[in-house]
Structure formats: C-alpha cells, structure tokens
C-alpha cells in the first residue's frame, strides 16, 4: 500500500481534552467562587476510600484530611499559567503531591501519588542540578554538553534509557545523545519520522514542558461529569500533569517495549527544537520534584546550546563579513560589479561556502568553479524567472523543484540565487554538489504503520529496527548565515548598480551642459571673431582704393600684408568652426559611391600652375556614410596630396580601397615630399603642421577634420611616410558601412 507516513487520524485527535486522567492520583475541577468541586476523576484507591462523594463537595473539606495547613492559603498559590506545586498531602500514610493551576474561572487541582522514598522538595535533588551546572561551564563541545545532560537525567530518574531527540525542519527527529543500559536497546543516531509526534502533540510539548506516562497499560480514570457545568465544555488538560494520553501512543509505547516514558521539552525562543525522552522497560513513576529538576537541566541545556550556537553563528558571520568586505571593495573599484565579483573568485565562492558560482546578466553568463555548464545555468535561470520573483531563492534539492536538474546533480544539487534586478534576468547563483547521505530510520519508512485488517483502524508501527535510507539529489543544506551573507551582497550590488546608473546620468547631464556651452561659445566665435577680420580687410582695401595714389610702394606692400594676414586669420576661424561643427553636426548616412565621389572631388580641385598629375584611381566600393562629410575628408586628403607633390616633376596620386576583416581601408598615396615618421603622432592633431607656413599653405586643421569625420563614421585614420619619398594616408570604414 502506497500510504503516506502520516497517521492522519492522530493529527485530528483532541489530545488536550481526553476526558480522563492517568490513574496514579486524582483530578478536581473546583469552582473558584464557591470552592465546590464541579468535575472529578479519582484514580487512586486510597483517595476513593477517603472521599465517599466528591462531586459537589467543598474542596476545603476534601483536602483538609490531608494537611493541617489552611486550605485557602494553599489554593491561593495556584497560578493562572502552568501548574505549580502547592503542598504535600498525607491521607493516613498515603502521600500525594498537590499541584494546581487555574483555567476558565476554575481551579484545576491534581493529587499525584508520591512514593515513600521520593524527594519531598526540590532541595533534595538540587545537588544534581548544581553538578550539571558545573559540568556545563567546562564543556566546550556540544556533544559533551548533551552527554552530561543525559547522564545527569539518567542518574536522577533511574530510567533505563535517556536520549536527546532533535527535530529537523520537517519535524523528523534524530537521536543525537543517549544514555542507556542493557534493559533497552540503543537508539543513538536513529531518525524518526514526523508522524511519530504529530502537530498537536508538539503543540502540547511546547505549552507544557514535562510529560510522564507511568504505565502504558494503565486504565484511565474518567472525569465526571464529562462537561464542566460552568463552561459546558470538557476541561482542558494542557497544563495538567496527570493528563491521559492517546491510546495510539500507548500502543506505540508497547510496540517499542517501553512501559513508562517521561519527556522534557527543549525550547528555544518558545519554539520546540527537541525533546529529552526517557524510557523504562517497566512501569515507573518519576517523582514530581525529580521531574522539576530534569526540567531545569533541560532548560539549562537549551540555553547553553543556544549560546554556543549563537557564538558559532557569530564567528561564521564574522568570517563571511571579511569575505564580503573584500568583495565590496573590489566591486566599488571595478567598472562593472561583475568584474569586481569575478576578480575575487575564491571570495565569491567562500561567501556561500559553494563549490561553483555564476553571474548572469541577461544572456551573458560568467561562471566559476564547479558549475553545471552554461546551458544548465540558462535553464535554471529561465526556471527562476518564471517563478514568483523573490529576491532570494534557496534549495538543497534542486531536482525536486526543477525537472531535469538531476542531470547536473554532481555540480548543482544545491542552488542559492539572488536576483539583482527587478526588471531583467540578472542573478548571482551559487552551486553545491550532491552529497549522498545515509539516514538510519528507527523502522522502515513506508511501513511505519499498518491498517488492522479486522478493525480497519491504523496502528502504529511495530518495528523499530534500524533501516538505512540513502538520500540522493541533495546538497549540504545552506546555512542561514550563508543565506544572510548573500542577501547582504545582493543589497550591496543593487546599491552599486543604482549608484553607477546615477553617476552615468549625472555625467551625461554634465556632458550635455558642457556641450551646450561649447556650442554657445562657437556660435559666438563664429559671429564675433570673424567680424573684426572682415573690417580689417574691408578698411584696408578701401584705404588702398581711395588713397592708393598717395601711397608709396612700401605703403602698398604694408596694406597688402595687412589684408593677407587678416584673410588668413579669417580662414583660420572658418576652419576651426567647421572642425567644431564636424563634431556636432548630425550624420546623414546614405549609400555613397566612393568612386563617383573621388572623381567629383578631383574635378573640383585646382592644381596650381596647371601641373600635370597622374591619378591612379582603383575600384572603390559603395559605402554608407554622410556624403558631405566624406567629401570633405577626401577633399582634404586629395588637396594635401596635390599640395605636397608640388615640387615633383612627375606627380602621381593613387587612391585605392581594400577589404580587411571587419572594415574597408581606403588609401590616398602620393610621391610628394613625405614626412618623417617620427612626427606621425602629430599629423592628425589640430594646428599641427610639419612644414613652415611659407613652404605650404594651410591652417593645419585639414587632417584633424579628416580624423574627426572618420571617427564619426566609427572608422580609423593613420598614415605612413618617408621624407622625400611620399606619403600614404589611410582611413577605414567598418564593414557595416558597406552598402
């Protein structure tokens, strides 16, 4: 039968209102106002003999037989929350511990049978508690602490087996410490399924830390009447010490071969994390004060473990913080956070104690260490992005949630992922490999219980023999400290990414404003700087025109020089402006036939003195570009070539294009005066001239313009030359500029 491990019937049983008690004592539910007994269950024979009639009797009269102390004073001690020890009662030699608590305007009193030799107060068992406290102070290892606790409780209770049982996240339990004798088998290291202690039982363990079952074969004493006449409900026995337990549990105990059991709840921050569970082969009672002492020991153990745990976490956290700050420093220093993270790859791994990691930004993946491969990472990210978008995702069993993940179990059975963008698929992931574990169950899972073929009722399992389960497709679980560290890293990355975005925005704003200023500046230059030169030329020429006859030859020459200089200065302003416009003007890219363009430029160029130039123009492709700008670039280069072949008897200018990987390279070569390669770096700068002005005319801005135009087309410019042997000027246009 494929049946879930849960005894779901157990889950539903209202075990806090069993309607009966264990028979080693009595329970009285007393009206707080009148002091009359409303409900009662008397299991102890001696008490039954003493009290002929209990229901409706005044509680003071019932108790007065067992003590000489004023009853009202005793009852005043009963607390609202949890039960407290009120007195030791003695009914003609039959002794009872009186404990009580309040509930629903009633006093719930319990008389628990006390043995002859049992401690009558906590003082008698205090030495055990003190000894444990001393041990605790010297125990450094957790195992030592646990062992000290079970030894002490073994000594105190004299029960056959004492074990510490720890719950995992799914409420399965594991026995992590034990003291036993030869009367009961050892359970150390065994695991027990969550169904052994169902949810409402765990709830009772949380509210009432101590629970004793003195005899698994007991006959319960029934509470009468079943319903409290004041509330109309059965009395809630959550806080009671004599509460009767579920018959299923008693059967479980008998199957286990233990007739008595006693448990102490281990709580941390009011949450149940384990039990100290004691078993005895025969029926046994653990005296009230001994139970209280055991509770102390359990509480001290819990606190010590919590303290040690907190310390270990703090040390772990501290170590990870050091790793984290190194990563942060690198990220802050890097152009991009991904680079910063990858620069410290060991740190990235150790932040989460992972064996592999990956940084995913859109379709790009950078992976380090032992990772499942780019395709697998893609599929993980794809899956993640379809889940509800959480900042952090963590699993130690990826194959359980992502079908197919078993194929890369060796690298990524465990995944911890942080999402670093709300809008895009950007993640940092850490991976852990599968670690095959063997879990030893107390009894084979799946056969934990069987239905009785006669009654159809479920029975708890009978076998507790060790059964090994091999757990696959799981990694070492991720520690909360590691999860926290990655969450903090996420915050840091998000901050850095945001800050970078802000910085970029600020920079672009500043660039825009600088550009505006520059534009305003050049606009004003274009208007205001040209005017004075125009005036100089204008007036000088008017002077020559009107007063020319009276001027000497020298005066004539002076005027000519003034005019020439002012014209040159004006030309310079014009060139500078066109250079600045070249950087700002929008590019209008169309298909440009370079061959046609070269021919058209050649036709427009003037060759001084009507020299004959041999043009060798090769096959030139059609490219994409701004025709006006490309024209200007060619014009500058061809103009230069003409200019610098001036003194050649046989000037040759050749223009060719060749295809290179990713680009087309154009070359304008001449056999002119050339240049010294030592100055090649200066060639394309603004106002850089390699010749004296009287040798060759020009403002020194032509090649700067060429470079700017080609750069606007995403190309490159360079030159080669040799003094006296000509020059070659190259420019490239990227291949996507080919039309």
């Amino acid at each position: 039968m494929a049946h879930p491990a849960n005894l779901s019937a157990c889950e539903d049983e209202p075990i806090h209102i069993p309607g009966s008690i264990q028979p080693h004592g009595a329970l009285l539910v007393v009206d707080s106002a009148t002091g009359t007994v409303l409900q009662a269950a008397v299991g102890d024979a001696a008490l039954r003999q003493h009290w002929k009639r209990v229901e409706g009797a005044p509680v003071a009269r019932l108790l007065a037989e067992g003590t000489s102390r004023p009853i009202d004073d005793l009852l005043a001690l009963a607390p609202d929350d949890g039960s407290a020890h009120l007195a030791l009662l003695n009914f003609d030699g039959a002794r009872f511990q009186l404990v009580g608590h309040r509930r629903d305007d009633c006093l719930v009193l319990e008389l628990e049978r006390a043995d002859e030799d049992e401690p009558v107060s906590l003082d008698a068992v205090y030495p055990h508690v003190r000894r444990f406290l001393e041990t605790v102070q010297h125990a450094h290892a957790i195992d030592d602490l646990l062992q000290a606790a079970v030894e002490e409780i073994y000594g105190l209770t004299r029960l056959d087996r004492v074990l510490v049982y720890r719950f995992d996240a799914d409420w399965n339990g594991e026995v992590i410490a034990e003291r036993t004798n030869d009367r009961l088998p050892s359970y150390l290291g065994l695991h027990f399924p969550a169904s052994d202690i169902p949810a409402q039982a765990r709830d009772l363990y949380t509210r009432n830390r101590l629970r004793l079952i003195a005899d698994a074969n007991y006959t319960p004493a029934v509470i009468t009447p079943p319903h409290n006449p004041r509330t109309g409900r059965p009395v809630d026995l959550t806080a009671a010490v004599l509460r009767s337990v579920s018959p299923v549990h008693l059967e479980y105990m008998r199957n286990m071969g233990t007739m008595a059991s006693f448990s102490i709840s281990l709580l941390r921050e009011e949450r149940l994390w384990g039990l100290i569970s004691c078993h005895h082969r025969d029926p046994a009672r653990v005296p009230y004060h001994v139970r209280t002492a055991c509770d102390f020991i359990g509480q001290i153990l819990s606190m010590q473990l919590a303290a040690k745990d907190a310390q270990a976490r703090m040390e772990h956290r501290h170590a990870l913080r050091a790793v984290q700050s190194r990563l942060l420093a690198r990220m802050a220093g890097a152009d991009h956070f991904v680079k910063g993270l990858l620069d410290g790859d060991q740190d990235l791994l150790s932040l989460a104690n992972a064996s592999g990691a990956a940084i995913v930004t859109g379709s790009e993946i950078e992976a380090i260490g032992e990772h499942p491969g780019i395709d697998a990472i893609h599929s993980i990210v794809h899956w993640l992005s379809r889940q509800r978008r959480e900042d952090l995702f963590v699993t130690d069993r990826l194959a359980k949630v992502l079908p197919g993940a078993e194929h890369f179990k060796d690298t990524a059975s465990g995944v911890l992922a942080i999402s670093i963008s709300q809008l895009h698929d950007r993640y940092v992931l850490w991976f852990r490999p599968e670690i095959t574990r063997t879990i030893t169950w107390g009894g084979e899972p799946g056969k934990l219980q069987a239905a009785n073929p006669d009654s159809g009722r479920l029975h708890p399992r009978k076998s507790f023999a060790a059964w090994n389960e091999i757990v696959r497709l799981r990694s070492k679980p991720w520690d909360q400290v590691e999860i926290d560290a990655t969450a903090e890293l996420r915050t840091a990355i998000v901050d850095i990414v945001l800050r970078k975005a802000e910085e970029t925005a600020a920079l672009s704003e500043r660039l825009t404003s600088i550009n505006k200023e520059l534009e305003a500046f050049s606009y004003s230059v274009s208007h205001d700087l040209r005017a004075p030169f125009r005036h100089i030329v204008g007036y000088a020429q008017l002077l020559k025109k009107h007063e020319g006859e009276r001027l000497t030859e020298r005066g004539d020459r002076y005027i000519a020089t003034i005019v020439e200089s002012a014209i040159a200065a004006g030309q310079l302003v014009d060139d500078l402006l066109s250079f600045s416009q070249m950087g700002r003007a929008t590019l209008h890219e169309v298909a440009v036939d370079m061959k046609g363009l070269v021919e058209s430029v050649r036709a427009s160029l003037q060759v001084e003195g009507g020299r004959e130039i041999t043009w060798r123009i090769g096959a030139l492709p059609v490219v994409r570009g701004d025709p006006m700008m490309l024209r200007l670039a060619l014009q500058n280069l061809m103009d230069n070539a003409i200019k610098f072949t001036r003194d050649r008897p046989d000037p040759v200018i050749s223009i060719a294009a060749r295809r290179e990987p990713g680009e087309i390279v154009f070359t304008v070569a001449d056999n002119g005066i050339g240049f010294d390669m030592a100055y090649v770096g200066k060639l394309f700068g603004v106002f850089q001239r390699l010749h004296r002005p009287e040798e060759f005319q020009g403002t020194g801005i032509g090649l700067a313009n060429v470079r700017r135009i080609i750069e606007r087309h995403r190309g490159r410019t360079w030159a080669e030359g040799k003094l006296g042997e000509g020059a070659q000027f190259h420019f490239s246009l990227p291949i996507d500029n080919e039309d």
Binding site: Y523, S526, H527, A531, F533, S578, Q581
Partner: protein
C-alpha cells in the same frame, strides 16, 4: 518709372554700416539707403511708427538684415515680416557673419529671400552686395498689391 523705393539696411555695427554703404555706393544704385541700428527700429520703420511715423508711405525695395542685432534680433524681425500679410512680399536678405547651419535652416524656414555669409574678403563682400542690390532693388518687381500668393520670381 515710379520713384525708387529705398533700401533698408539693418545693421548694428557702424563699421559694417560704413563698409556696406561703400559697397552699395560702388554699385551706383539710385535707391536711397535707410540705415537702422537694431531690430526694434527696423520694425518701427516697416510699420511706420515711432520715429518713422511720418515717413513716406511704401515698403522698402529690399531689407538687408543683419542676423545678430540688439533688442529684437534678425530672425525675430524676419519672422514678424514674413507673417505679416502686408509685409511678407518685401524681400529680405539675411546678412550674417555666421556660418552656422542652424541659422541658415531657420532663416529659410522663416521664408528669407536670400542668405549671405559676409565674406572676410572685401572684394567678395562688395560683389555680394552689388549682386543683391542689383537684383532686388532694380530688377525685381514686387508682386502687385493684393496678391497674396507664395514665391513670385
């Protein structure tokens, strides 16, 4: 032949005024030249108001308009003129030091009749002014009154 209409020169720089006048003089045009020194004054003249309230009626033969002007700049004057149903047929020639593309584009979009970048060289300037003067002041007849169509020549 009716009395020649004057040429309106709008120019803030006294040196440019003098040089322009010298150029116009060399063209030996018969038209008189009215010189105003900013955009506001130009508009006063065109609308015969303010200091020009009592001027002889009629629009100028051509307006030679500098682009950069105090108070109301050349582009604003151009815009007002070209939006005015009565003035829009008066030819406007923009004279400017600027080689800025945006000025050129803006001027043409406002309906300028010609756009002249003042060359540094005086001879070129002289030729430009002379050509403009000859074309607009003497050769070009404005459309008859009441004609509100687009381009005319």
């Amino acid at each position: 032949m009716a009395e020649l209409k004057p040429i309106l020169l709008v120019e803030d720089s006294p040196k440019d005024v003098e040089l322009t006048l010298a150029a116009l003089e060399q063209c030996q045009l018969a038209n008189s030249v009215v010189v105003v020194r900013d955009g506001a004054e130009a508009l006063d003249y065109l609308y015969a108001r303010g200091d020009y309230a009592n001027r002889a009626a009629g629009e100028p033969a051509v307006v030679l308009l500098d682009l950069k002007l105090p108070k109301v700049d050349g582009l604003e004057v151009l815009e007002i003129v070209k939006r005015d149903a009565l003035l829009r047929h008066t030819p406007v020639v923009m004279l400017t030091s600027s080689r800025e593309e945006r000025d050129l584009v803006r001027s043409y979009s406002l309906g300028v009749n010609a756009f002249v970048v003042k060359p540094v060289e005086f001879e070129q300037f002289f030729e430009a002014i002379r050509d403009l003067g000859m074309f607009w002041a003497v050769l070009n007849e404005p459309p008859p009154r009441g004609y509100n169509g687009g381009g005319t020549t």
